[in-house]
Symmetry: C2
Subunit: 342 residues, 2 copies
């Protein structure tokens, strides 16, 4: 009988590890390949950072409650976020789309309005792409290109023992926004006469539908001459991302629940929905904040920036990554991030 | 009533023109944007060429007769072909995939074997990508990156009146291979007991399932110090591509039917299937040959290369692009290339 291994048993990262296990590189210019937020190629002494992401209807977004303009905006942002997560500045994107004939030109135009709005805000050039049809559903593939001064890019694998673990902005709100939108969709499908009630939850809805990429954090760190020792963006959920940094840096860490930044509106809504705000932050995903480690001696430089929270520190590998709860209990950190294959 | 314009009324190129009509560029490094085989960005004095293509199951390929390894190979090749068509050398690719749970790890592995085989043959590094699930079907998005000496890239818009129109290899065979595979699929679906009869048509089947990108032509031209005045690859069919060069260069052209290179096996099969070999070459697509224009004075340098055929010449715009048939008749050249939206 032919062997058959289900993809969902491996998950995305297991799959990538498996498929790239024998990868060979032929060009001396390839500085960093598969396995980080973006790849780095050395072009004539300066370095170019490249990242790509695919968004699939029904998996990553639901057009029932996602305005096309917001979707266009978000599909650019999620890619720019990967470039910033390398400590680089995005400069160019390409965008390929596949869509079925239920999409009109007016619909695509709306989508591109969002794309161009993101390009304008982040000063990025759309330089190419491909448009084609699909039998079903809308598929978006974006490749983002950025630049970084030689060897100033920041990987996931270079955190050091004792480094502070930091995160920008707040976490969990995008997931709560999604939860609310899904709830209202379900109610609407059961009874189309009931109007959606988003309870004026503009903050969490905005975090889900119109995320931003944290270029301000990259600028701030550069201005303060802080070079993060490791960095990545929070797309799948905080715990999953922390575990990536720990695994790739071969370290453990201690995370403090009380230090995890959660927005007041997100906390209140979580309570109301019967969800644990910390669990939303740890496993929710799509926050597009920056998670980074830095040397302890840089601590004084960030204390006045309310957009950066120190949430823990890196330890030796002998200590498994764990979280200290508000009540003082210690739990092993589990990856419960979003998995496109489940 | 809300306005609704059907995409198929515009076609891919009309759509791209429409969606990019107000495009703004923010980076001085953007040398060439949307509208050619690839974009060009100037990085630190040298130039980088970027191209992207999306392949969708049911639109671009049929897994009933396409081995996954071949599909992986071809999905790299079609992108490298765009880079060569800019007179550049591909160096890196990223590859994003979306697939449903009917794909096993073993199936994906087969696909990647083809990807890696193409990377090895063309000395290109796979540096990143994204793998995600789809509700239905297999979607492949590849971005290829290449390098070119400053201002040595070749656009579609720079052909000059009097230039020779040239094409590499032969045309129409990939389309005939597809026709044969589609015929056998239909017979098989009607009666699964009948074994497919591909009539030892290895050449045309190979042209469809395992195309190559013409790096040899780029090397040859460079070796002979021939700088094409305009160039693109033949992916949608010869007539469609010639019309692109004419339109973008604001010229007309004369094409000679008898000069269009068609492989003997392709010609014989076409006859057998009741198809016109010239029509297959003009409208078939997927040949991934290079179509280029060059100065007449370079003619002597190419006469000994059997892989390059001079098929016509560029004229003033006043003369519409046309073809002179074997019987001496003159016909207007019509774009009947492949259209993903029909």
């Amino acid at each position: 009988m032919e062997e058959r291994t289900e993809i969902e048993d491996l998950g995305e990262f297991g799959l990538i590890d498996y498929l790239t296990r024998n990868i060979e590189l032929y060009n001396a210019s390839t500085v960093l390949g598969v396995g980080d937020d973006a790849a780095v190629i050395d072009l004539f002494g300066k370095q170019t950072v490249i990242s790509t992401d695919m968004l699939v209807e029904g998996i990553h977004f639901d057009l029932m409650y996602t305005p096309l303009k917001h979707l266009g905006y978000k599909s650019v942002i999620v890619n720019l976020s990967d470039i910033y997560a390398m400590n680089a500045t995005p400069t160019h994107i390409t965008m390929s789309l596949a869509f079925s004939n239920r999409f009109s030109l007016e619909a695509l135009n709306e989508f591109y309005e969002g794309v161009y709005a993101a390009c304008e805000k982040y000063r990025v050039d759309l330089i190419g792409g491909d448009t084609t049809s699909s039998q079903k559903g809308f598929v978006i593939s974006v490749t983002a290109i950025g630049e970084v001064a030689p060897d100033k890019f920041v990987k996931r694998s270079t955190a050091q023992k004792g480094d502070l673990l930091c995160v920008s902005g707040d976490l969990g709100a995008a997931y709560l926004g999604l939860t609310l939108l899904e709830r209202e969709k379900k109610i609407f499908l059961e009874n189309p006469k009931i109007q959606p009630d988003l309870e004026d939850q503009t903050y969490v809805i905005g975090r889900q539908l119109k995320p931003e990429a944290r270029h301000d954090i990259i600028s701030f760190l550069a201005g303060k001459e802080i070079m993060p020792t490791a960095m990545m963006d929070v797309s799948d959920g905080l715990s999953s991302e922390i575990l990536h940094i720990c695994k790739q840096s071969q370290l453990g860490c201690v995370l403090y629940e009380e230090k995890i930044p959660v927005h007041d509106q997100a906390r209140e809504l979580a309570m109301k929905l019967g969800l644990d705000p910390t669990a939303c932050a740890l496993s929710g995903g799509e926050d597009y904040e920056l998670l980074f480690t830095m040397k302890q001696e840089d601590y004084d430089k960030i204390t006045l920036n309310e957009e950066i929270a120190v949430i823990g520190y890196m330890t030796e590998l002998t200590e498994e990554p764990h979280i200290i709860t508000r009540s003082g209990n210690k739990h092993k950190l589990a990856a419960q991030g979003w998995n496109a294959f489940k």
